[in-house]
Symmetry: C2
Subunit: 348 residues, 2 copies
């Protein structure tokens, strides 16, 4: 009997290889052996062939203290968001989600009424997106609140869009706008800090409603894939913006073996982001590029589809795909070209 | 801004309604609306129709301090067990599992090598059961180690077996033996207590290898459903023994609207269970009935199938199904009839 968590002579801290390094290390060891495993690890969702159709399936954790703070995330909103962020993974495969399973683990500080609040948010999201809750479990934990959601959708194989299909000269398109969820989080963190010093202070949320809603109650862009289907446009690649635009652009580039060029002045940024970035002394473009949690869709289109989407207010062309050897680039307002890293950029 | 976890005037402790009460409360609110949702909450797995086939999908949490103790659960075994207990849920639907997704959340006390150990166990189970790991995620947590697994399998709709199909006069059959995993846990807990007092004491595990293996490295009974298919026997109902035989018998009875009569002297109990129950001053039948975590299959068969299974050493007939109004009964060795509750029994 021994403390066998780290029972080797050498320990390597996870931070040394990072989350993506760890996932890469794991996925290398697991090669699918079943013919009907169409897509394993490495996209927003996995794909299993079932007869003439495919089931698309994704899975994500939300952990208290890491992904949410119950000081300002009401449980009802958390239930809603837990569903939405998982549906977004199915939607970003160009598939309409239809079922979810939810597991929660929670300590004895949560009451029946608290759990009811959580599930009332789940229910709202299920109704809004027309998905069935079909399973999962509830269990105790020693500490905190943890949510795991599995989402599924059915699709013809030919309609599924992967991260890996972007081609040179494709247009790079973004739905909605970016940066707002990150600023919403900054506002909540500021008000939490104020509250901890003086719990009688009234929070100052005026003018920030849009930013707060983007953080606390995001929506998945089911409307966008429905619009694309109606326009008869199939993206060549797609991913959702959960980790930030820069990071997801780099994922797309790696999966598709491409380079790209995007333009700072094309980034769709809401006026509230401009206003509040100034208050927080932040650069709005950095909020847009690195903020994360916007749950917008980032996709690439063939040039021939330009006319079909050029007037859409909910889709913005932010750049184009280049040859891999050109690298991943951001053209700033001053027309200078910078390498766009997963977080931030650097001058050439 | 407020501590909004329990923001109502009345709080009801979860323990007041229990886990099953909570699940019932939740599932009442969620009625499936999609035609292809064949089975939602309420069985070992959910069933989604895809064309001419069905996908069967289950999801389970394993939480440190609740489901396992890293003092005596090596991470490699934990990886193995996490896969197996989820495959067992698919198998208990009479379906061969083919894919899994795994998410883990862990604190910074876990090294890259520790996570490697966990995934080496996952890999062993994937190879042993021929399933593909196709997705999931890894994330930080503030405390502890949490695993969430989603397992899937494909089947014709007509071959799926539910908890709800048991009929009067059916035989009640149990695979393998029961009670060993619980005694394995008792031994590990005893040795942990000894170790905490004196870390130089050598653990006493002699003769308990079978019990320890049943606790630390259980197997899912894929062999049993394969045998049944070969024998051309389709159970009328089936469930796996995770919460204990008594508890699962009561689940079957409730889902199928039946009563039953099982016999204490028919319970398949390994000799090591007899030996160690004596050492722990426990009743072996109680270990067998209430122990849990045996991951054996409990199923019901039509009388006509009796000849096909009567000589199988891996299947034991422990009783038969009765009319609901007869209740759930255990006949003890002294021929007395007792009501079998989810935990324990009581005299009439």
């Amino acid at each position: 009997m021994s403390k066998n968590i780290n029972n080797r002579k050498s320990f390597t801290s996870i931070s040394k290889i990072g989350e993506f390094g760890l996932i890469e290390k794991i996925s290398k060891q697991f090669k699918p052996s079943h013919e009907n495993t169409i897509k394993g690890i490495g996209d927003d969702a996995a794909v299993i062939k079932v007869g003439e159709s495919c089931i698309v399936i994704s899975k994500d954790f939300l952990v208290e203290g890491i992904h949410f703070d119950l000081m300002y995330n009401p449980l009802k909103h958390l239930g809603y968001k837990s569903v939405v962020v998982n549906l977004s993974d199915i939607i970003s495969m160009n598939v309409i989600p239809t079922q979810i399973l939810i597991s929660i683990a929670f300590s004895n500080r949560f009451s029946v009424e608290a759990i009811d609040d959580f599930y009332s948010g789940v229910k709202l999201a299920c109704n809004r997106y027309n998905v069935d809750l079909i399973g999962g479990d509830t269990t105790s934990s020693n500490k905190g609140f943890t949510v795991s959601v599995t989402a599924t959708g059915i699709s013809k194989e030919s309609e599924i869009v992967y991260r890996s299909g972007a081609k040179e000269n494709n247009l790079i398109v973004l739905s909605g706008d970016v940066g707002a969820a990150y600023l919403g989080l900054q506002i909540l963190e500021r008000e939490k800090a104020v509250f901890e010093v003086n719990s009688k202070m009234q929070p100052e949320f005026e003018g920030s409603e849009y930013l707060l809603e983007r953080q606390l109650k995001p929506e998945a862009r089911l409307d966008i894939i429905n619009s694309l289907k109606k326009l008869d446009v199939k993206p060549t690649s797609m991913i959702d913006i959960s980790d930030g635009l820069s990071s997801e652009l780099n994922h797309l580039a790696k999966s598709s073996s491409i380079g790209f060029r995007i333009f700072e002045d094309k980034l769709p940024i809401n006026s509230a982001v401009h206003e509040f970035s100034e208050k927080f002394n932040l650069n709005p473009s950095i909020c847009a590029l690195n903020g994360g949690e916007d749950y917008e869709l980032l996709f690439t289109l063939e040039q021939k589809d330009y006319d079909k989407i050029k007037h859409r207010p909910d889709m913005t062309i932010i750049g184009y795909v280049e040859n891999k050897k050109m690298g991943c680039n951001l053209v700033t307002r001053d027309s200078k070209v910078h390498s766009l890293l997963s977080k931030g950029w650097k001058s050439h």
